[in-house]
């Protein structure tokens, strides 16, 4: 495993240049360019701040808005990387056919692209939260660093799994889209966990792997305290499980991939 990661590291200039290329292609010929990466989360924030207070008069807006925003940023990150990850090997097909390279670099390219947009969105959320709550705890925010690292490994593994699945079964992307639509309502993004305490859905949510990452990201921003060791442990376990699955898939199917493209 270590050797494999070393081969990935050896071609780092290549996949970093691919990430750079992706970002530039996304915003080529647009006037704002990378500014759109900032404008997307800001406009989402503005819309939620205007719309939600009208519908949810009973909840505490100063806590609810950052809650929803942080949840949405996380959710968009995970779904973006998973869905783009389905296409990552087709995107990189011309490279795969010419140069042998560790296959993990193509999901890595997708994961890094998504991470950049996530970090921008997260900055916006932190700024909005500290503005609404009139306070900020830097130490608690420091706990975001290991959380983001864990989340990164998680989405990279997801991209690997999605990419290979989509090459071997082309309907994977469509199934994943529908799956995420359903999962959105089984994930406490819009509603808090307390709203569903005791019900069957509440119990199902506890086992949603995305829920633990939402907790990791939300705790420092909304409650201004670092997440508990138990949350980290649960997240690390989830990451380990998905990373092991991704590693297993890479080991077994990496060499067969080119025959299926």
């Amino acid at each position: 495993m270590g050797k494999y990661l070393q081969t990935v590291w050896q071609c780092r200039y290549f996949w970093l240049s691919l990430v750079r290329m992706d970002l530039r292609t996304r915003y080529r010929r647009s006037i704002l360019g990378m500014g759109w990466s900032l404008l997307h989360p800001i406009s989402m924030t503005a819309i939620i701040c205007i719309v939600f207070p009208r519908f949810f008069k009973s909840v505490n807006i100063h806590e609810y808005i950052p809650f929803v925003l942080a949840g949405l940023a996380c959710w968009n990150y995970i779904t973006f990387v998973a869905l783009q990850g389905c296409q990552c090997f087709y995107q990189g097909e011309m490279y795969i056919r010419q140069f042998p390279a560790p296959m993990a670099i193509f999901p890595l390219r997708t994961a890094l692209g998504g991470t950049i947009h996530f970090l921008i969105a997260l900055c916006v959320v932190v700024v909005v939260a500290s503005f609404l709550k009139q306070s900020i705890n830097i130490l608690a925010l420091a706990s975001l660093i290991p959380s983001i690292l864990l989340l990164f490994v998680f989405v990279w593994s997801l991209a690997v799994i999605a990419g290979f699945s989509n090459v071997f079964f082309n309907d994977t992307q469509h199934l994943t889209e529908i799956g995420f639509q359903i999962l959105f309502y089984a994930t406490p993004i819009i509603y808090g966990v307390e709203m569903l305490a005791g019900s069957r859905l509440g119990r199902v949510i506890q086992f949603n792997p995305i829920y633990v990452f939402l907790k990791l990201i939300r705790e420092p921003i909304i409650h201004q305290q670092a997440p508990t060791a138990a949350t980290f442990a649960w997240a690390a376990g989830t990451v380990l499980l998905f990373a092991a699955l991704a590693g297993f898939i890479l080991a077994k199917l990496q060499r067969k991939l080119i025959f299926k493209l």
């Binding site: 071609c11 200039y13 290549f14 970093l16 240049s17 290329m21 530039r24 292609t25 080529r28 010929r29 011309m94 490279y95 795969i96 056919r97 010419q98 140069f99 042998p100 071997f168 079964f169 082309n170 309907d171 199934l175 060499r255 080119i258 025959f259 299926k260």
Partner: protein, 252 residues
């Protein structure tokens, strides 16, 4: 120590007649024996045993679809052999498709970097070679323009300059000898000779018999995935040429 060895290597592709499998097809196949989208077996390479030693310059010839490029890609590590073993000692540099990895909205200078990283260079090594590449391509100020505005010949010049700015140990070349206008052709041939004198082992695929006779000393004739003839380049080319002419006479 550069060396390549193939022992009884076979490479088979299983291709579906109608592209990729869908979920419906997968489920239907489980339920019924026969499928409407059957596999076709393409035996790209059949029981190939070859050995290339240090200092050899090998030319591969054959008809279209004989398995020449597939053999090169197998040597490069792109395709794993279905059967048999492949042993490669030494670092492989390949010249397969010149225009790979070009970002159309980036300038010529930036594309030198992108293509360089694809070949395994670091930013430092690309910067060291950058001026040499620019001078060889003779594109001058055009390098500041986005590559999408280049003509086909300019693209070829740039691609060739970047792709050949390497120090190869084992060099695999797939029909990249024809490039650019007349003046550039002469330069390109010169550059190829320089590269080949630097490399320790060269395997080349080409349809240009004259070039192969000048540049290589041993040859391999591939025919429908099998090695039909192996030996000194003149003999192999003569045998291949006779076979092609005999085929044409029969057809006429």
């Amino acid at each position: 120590m550069a060396r390549i060895r193939l022992e009884n290597v076979s490479l088979t592709f299983k291709v579906r007649q109608q592209g990729r499998i869908t979920l419906k097809e997968f489920l239907v196949r489980q339920m019924f024996r026969r499928s409407v989208n059957p596999f076709l077996k393409v035996r790209a390479l059949q029981d190939v045993s070859l050995e290339f030693k240090e200092g050899e310059r090998v030319g591969i010839i054959g008809h279209n679809g004989a398995g020449k490029s597939t053999l090169l890609k197998l040597l490069a590590g792109v395709y794993p052999p279905s059967k048999g073993t492949l042993t490669v000692e030494g670092k492989i540099s390949s010249l397969f498709e010149l225009a790979l990895g070009f970002e159309h909205d980036a300038s010529g200078w930036e594309n030198i970097f992108y293509r360089g990283y694809l070949q395994g260079e670091t930013p430092k090594s690309v910067r060291a070679k950058m001026q040499g590449i620019a001078d060889f391509s003779e594109l001058g100020d055009f390098l500041n323009m986005p590559v999408r505005y280049y003509s086909a010949g300019m693209l070829v010049r740039l691609a060739f300059s970047i792709a050949t700015a390497i120090d190869p140990e084992i060099l695999l070349v797939d029909e990249v000898l024809g490039a650019g206008d007349m003046a550039f052709q002469a330069k390109a041939r010169q550059r190829m000779c320089e590269m080949m004198s630097k490399a320790r082992l060269i395997v080349m695929v080409s349809h240009d018999m004259d070039a192969l006779e000048k540049l290589c000393e041993s040859g391999i004739w591939m025919d429908h995935g099998q090695v039909r003839r192996q030996g000194p380049i003149h003999e192999v080319i003569a045998a291949y040429t006779n076979s092609v002419q005999a085929g044409q006479n029969r057809a006429a």
